[in-house]
Symmetry: C2
Subunit: 411 residues, 2 copies
Amino acid sequence: MAEMNDIRMKGFHQRISVEGFYTIIDKNTAPNPSELVHVTECYDRVLCEPITSPRNVPDFNRSAMDGYAVKGEETFGAASYNPISFKIRGRLTPGQEFKEEIQKGETLQIMTGAPLPKGADSVLMAEYTEQVGQCMHAMEAVSPGKNVGLVGEDIQKGEKLFQKGRRLRPQDAAVLASVGISEVSVFKKPTVDILVTGDELLKPGQFPDGVKIVDSNSIVLRHCIQRDGGIVKMIRHLPDDLDLIRTALQESSADLVCISGGSAVGVEDFAPSLVAELGELLVHGVSIRPASPTGFGMIDHRPVFLLPGNPVSCLSAYDFFVARAIRIKGARNLQWPYRSIAIKLGSNISSQSGRVDYVRVRIEGSQAFLIATSGAAILSSTTKADGFLVVPEASEGFAEGETVNVCLYDS
Amino acid sequence: MAEMNDIRMKGFHQRISVEGFYTIIDKNTAPNPSELVHVTECYDRVLCEPITSPRNVPDFNRSAMDGYAVKGEETFGAASYNPISFKIRGRLTPGQEFKEEIQKGETLQIMTGAPLPKGADSVLMAEYTEQVGQCMHAMEAVSPGKNVGLVGEDIQKGEKLFQKGRRLRPQDAAVLASVGISEVSVFKKPTVDILVTGDELLKPGQFPDGVKIVDSNSIVLRHCIQRDGGIVKMIRHLPDDLDLIRTALQESSADLVCISGGSAVGVEDFAPSLVAELGELLVHGVSIRPASPTGFGMIDHRPVFLLPGNPVSCLSAYDFFVARAIRIKGARNLQWPYRSIAIKLGSNISSQSGRVDYVRVRIEGSQAFLIATSGAAILSSTTKADGFLVVPEASEGFAEGETVNVCLYDS
């Protein structure tokens, strides 16, 4: 690591491949421990244990229709020209229970979801009846069992509901509530501290002036971290001051730290040497464009990402590397949240073999075109773009007319 | 409307088509007014006005590399065997300014992002130099303008940044901050009150007992509403009590109300007649399965959705109808948030012409199969399913082997 501490103003000696970086991230990050959340709050959380149903849903036979509970065989032969009459013993709505048993020739008016009374085995829909006083005329037959939901028809006691690792949908949370579960064991969301360094930076919301510019990386990081299931614990803006940055790194109690700026080999780029001083600097310099001055290390078992100050590099480094660590910690799948489409290229895209390229494209008609002005500092290239494509390490690019996969930003 | 008030226990006279329902929703809902939010909070909000940049980004010429600011023509002819020497006048990091002008034979050490000093027109990368004391030896030539980002290279003053209606990405929020905007005018998020009615219902987190079941619809609604950009203002659980439900409807101050349960034609289904009493009942009964007992009306210019108590119906009614109203109010596009894929059917799916069907399917290998147990009451059909397909009104279904579009729940 000594060598790495010392590369300021000398350029990167060696850049790690994207895949090599992934291996290091995977080795140094593990899923968070679990926490219990109330069932109304478990949406989009990741289950930390498999779940088996503690009960039947429903736990009673219930009417699936509004109508009349009958013994089906008593309606056989009923028709509009040959109505069969039943004495109405009462009316049952959901949540009520009929304690007696209905007898031959009797019926009970019953609403969808109400428990089927003893003595009945089916429900004749209201549409096929006529009610006259305390008498119901069945105008159609109903077969035994018809329009009745049996015990456990939705969920059976002991049934395996969800595997560990399931990302809970709205309806999953609903199923957990319906079997009577009140608290759910899920992976804790990873917390992230964001340190934004740079003498030149103003905070978002301030007006840029003179040679000062507004920090925008904290905004990109904050929102992407939230999107990927993380919690931003703290955002600090710091000058290029070795001691202040060191203290901030030592004080962090988050699961993960992102330092934006000062990651490269300039004289004010303190972050790499600080990580090496306080812990271990494992990566510095990656074969990717933009975002090559990205770094990674561990301080007190805490992953620390060194992100380039250039905004496009920062976004690219986040999506390629930080997002992966956050998703591992949150036990989420590693796929990008971007929807990808296959589309023909309207421009040539050249790259360098041995380097991954993150290329912003706009889509016009049925073709994707390179965004003309697209340096690492040109944040507007990512707002003018509809998405991006990745040129793999082994490729030297794509020719006009080739079909490529484009990841859409709005997806 | 009188007729509609009176249909309990008689079945629906007439069901409106899904498209007909859409027309009524579209006529009765409009985008919310605007509100100002801080630029750090505008992610995923929808712009209420077009935005033009008030300034150039950057507002000064800046170095795009770590290296030395020079007049390019003074380096012509430099090579490792023929270094050209410059006197180092100092060092400039981002946020600092060099007030003088560098003269012939002079250079300034400069970091990425620092403002280019007067007298220089390019930056020679550190990699192509050697520094000995106060002297820099250029080992390579650099052409004028090289490695310099000019005023406005990212964003030009007066440039149109975003159209009204843009849903802001993380990087969009970052661009807004970088041009010095602190507050952004966005459409107010629609607020929603959820009234859950039913004597049989326990609140989520309670344990089902006897003939009582746990309400799960409020969970599905709450999460789907949040997902679609709405804010759940209040969730109330109410018994099947006409007066209590009336009071709750009158007390609502949300942009939109959802009533779950009591929407059909059972004796305890008070919701439709209450909407007719307090306002106007515009829809009751839809040609869709499940979710046919869905209703819609207006009370005090407030859209009110009557949603079936059956959980699959509730989810289906939400996605088809409520989501549309929420997205209109929030000025979002009307597309479902589900990613759709084309896939072959492994089962036949039969439907009724004249009715839209919402069919849950699971995906196995490269085929989609119908979920066997899939009535409106079987919530677990939506957790066992990988997604759903929609059988259009004009169709009588699909045959095994046909390619259909399946919307994925996890997307």
